[in-house]
């Protein structure tokens, strides 16, 4: 299968090749990302603040060490990606730009042979889970296709972690809801997330989880459930669970 028009579907197929039938994990995503983005290593780090994080998986020792240095020094592409809410690409850690931006991290990483680092946030709007981070031993930019792949793998990791948080065992079929990115229906999902957050007085992440759990339990598309919330036909209540307000 080629990437073609549906990169989201292709990404899951690609992750499936790594998992060989087992439930997907971030390790499979990292391994696939290394192969497809032509980098030397990858890591997934969970973050709840720029200084509070846990590396869930790293493909090799340098990948793990890059994460550790950034946590120690409080600077680097991962830190910036988390704070900015967008990817941070450092194709040459010996460049003046990188050294100025991250004096300690860039020097340390380069001294240990890591010459390029790329951080891709795992996020859905204000929901920030952490980042997928890639590195290279030789300097050089990612090309457009590799960036697109890396973003799609970061999205996949994000979806997987949200599903894991709900205790789902994840296969490709469960993960199609986010693969279209911000399509028309996603607008409603994001708006409904904000509404359910208020209804339940929980975090955005929990609100999205509850929406997804409801859709899953009722075997309905997430977008349709979100639409009902936005149209105020469905509300969530903390104690008794969701309630249908009105029928058309």
């Amino acid at each position: 299968m080629e990437r073609g028009d549906d990169r989201g579907a292709w990404i899951w197929t690609r992750v499936g090749l790594e998992s060989r039938g087992a439930p997907f994990t971030v390790a499979h995503i990292c391994d696939a990302a290394v192969a497809e983005a032509h980098v030397d290593g990858a890591a997934v780090t969970l973050m709840s603040a720029a200084t509070v994080w846990e590396t869930l998986y790293a493909t090799d020792k340098p990948a793990a060490r890059i994460e550790g240095w950034q946590l120690d020094f409080g600077e680097g592409p991962t830190v910036d990606a988390y704070q900015r809410g967008g990817p941070v690409l450092a194709p040459d850690l010996d460049s003046l730009e990188s050294i100025t931006r991250w004096p300690v991290f860039a020097t340390q990483a380069s001294g240990e042979g890591v010459k390029a680092a790329f951080a891709f946030p795992m996020q859905v709007g204000a929901i920030r889970l952490g980042a997928l981070n890639l590195y290279r031993l030789a300097p050089g930019p990612l090309d457009g296709d590799q960036i697109a792949d890396a973003l799609a793998f970061a999205d996949a990791a994000c979806v997987l972690l949200l599903a894991d948080a709900e205790g789902e065992r994840t296969g490709a079929a469960d993960l199609t809801w986010y693969r279209d990115g911000q399509s028309t229906s996603q607008i409603h999902v994001h708006q409904a997330t904000g509404m359910v957050l208020v209804q339940l007085n929980v975090s955005a992440e929990s609100a999205l989880a509850r929406l997804r759990a409801y859709a899953f339990a009722h075997n309905r598309p997430l977008a349709e459930v979100a639409r009902d919330v936005v149209d105020r036909k469905l509300r969530f209540r903390p104690d008794t669970g969701p309630e249908v307000v009105a029928d058309d």
Binding site: G86, P87, L89, Q191, A192, G194, L197, V198, V230
Partner: protein, 233 residues
């Protein structure tokens, strides 16, 4: 087209391009001014994500129906065509496009629009998105009006990518993805305000934007605070 005030619009937009300006707020302002100056009913800006799909970045009206009309152009409509060909696309009669773009045509007509234009947002040889104009009546806008529209599209492009030496697709990826995620945060914040104060989504956006002005905060920072529950507006 309203000629007077045009210079002021460009000055105002240029003034916005200072340090720490909010990209989505700026693009929203472009759409509002565009609708006023070109005298069209609605204006939207779509940006290409790195997956090559167009995503809504801003609209002159935040009504969900308008956002949907813009967003369904991931697949069909004048914007993807403008994006792919890097040319301006005129749709003088939306009803005549029912076969070519069935869903776009249906939704646009249902929203009360008869005509549309899409103008490419170009950065040298790269197209990063499209500016979309909607009219209540059929027919093409005059060339002169479209030239102004294109100039506003170019201002939007410059605003999006300003102040950075462009490392080609890398900085482009950083900026576009950050802007598009800001857009998602704003949708989530609209949901929070809509529920808390029983507003529709358009009113929720107006309240959010007024809050950003009042607190002198960037729109996306305020939206993030609203979703996190650390600020109220």
């Amino acid at each position: 087209m309203r000629e007077q005030g045009l210079a002021e619009v460009f000055v105002e937009l240029a003034d916005t391009l200072v340090d720490e300006f909010d990209v989505i707020d700026f693009l929203h302002q472009v759409t509002i001014r565009c609708a006023e100056v070109l005298e069209v009913a609605a204006v939207g800006i779509l940006l290409a994500d790195q997956r090559g799909a167009l995503q809504v970045a801003a609209a002159s009206s935040e009504q969900t129906r308008i956002l949907e009309l813009l967003q369904l152009q991931t697949n069909q409509g004048p914007c993807p065509e403008s994006f792919q060909t890097a040319r301006a696309i005129a749709v003088p009669d939306i009803a005549a496009e029912a076969e070519r773009w069935p869903r776009f045509s249906d939704e646009a007509l249902a929203a009360g629009f008869q005509g549309s234009h899409a103008l490419p947002m170009r950065l040298r040889s790269t197209v990063i998105g499209a500016l979309n104009l909607f009219m209540r009546q059929t027919g093409r806008l005059p060339d002169e009006t479209l030239r102004i529209g294109q100039a506003l599209a170019d201002v939007a492009t410059i605003g999006l990518l300003q102040a950075r030496s462009i490392r080609h697709h890398e900085v482009l990826a950083e900026q576009l993805q950050t802007a598009l995620n800001s857009r998602v945060i704003i949708e989530q914040a609209k949901g929070v305000l809509a529920e808390r104060y029983m507003l529709n989504m358009d009113e929720a956006f107006i309240r959010l934007r007024a809050g950003a002005r009042g607190q002198n905060t960037r729109l996306s920072d305020l939206a993030r605070g609203v979703v996190a529950g650390t600020v109220d507006v």
